[in-house]
């Protein structure tokens, strides 16, 4: 494992964790979901790095694509239903 690829992997892993943390703690739900989709894409790259192409395809197609679509559709319906949705950073009650 040459040091360079290890460094790259560490960088990728670090961003992945950081994006995940930010997605959950995002002020607006919309940004949360957008970050979650970014998280999905990073996961796809990680699967490629782990030489698991099938999983990368599945992650991209279902884990990111479809889940993202579901989340945005649900958010839209939630807004239409009028439920307050943007519990930001402080909203934890």
């Amino acid at each position: 494992m040459s040091a360079l690829t290890l460094l790259l992997d560490a960088l990728l892993a670090g961003t992945l964790v950081w994006v995940a943390a930010r997605a959950l703690a995002a002020a607006e739900l919309v940004t949360g979901i957008a970050l979650f989709i970014a998280f999905g894409l990073l996961m796809t790259i990680v699967w490629v790095r782990l030489s698991a192409p099938d999983v990368a395809l599945a992650e991209a197609g279902i884990g990111t694509g479809l889940t993202g679509a579901l989340l945005f559709a649900a958010l839209a319906r939630l807004r239409r239903a009028g439920a307050p949705d943007n519990r930001g950073e402080n909203g934890d009650e």
């Binding site: 494992m1 992997d9 099938d54 999983v55 599945a58």
Partner: protein, 102 residues
Amino acid sequence: MTGAELYALTGIALFVIGLHGLIRYAHLMRKILALNVTGAGVFLVVAALAERGQDGTPDPVPQALVITGIVVAVAATGLALVLMLRVASATGRAELPDPRSE
């Protein structure tokens, strides 16, 4: 510290972040997001350590498990989102009443 172990540790980190989000945030959408992150973390642990096959070919079994896991996760998410919408329309709030009140 090979790449595989690095990603396994990332998986553990995602698992912890996900559980924390699930418990910490009240909004149901955030809880569902947190569930997906936890799932991703677990899948990472399942498949990451498999990459150290002897002659470099990765062990296919964990990868198959992860694919099945991902599809199960999307099924659960789909159901959870519809249930969340029903809860929101029924109670007017997309959050769960405090369980300790019972």
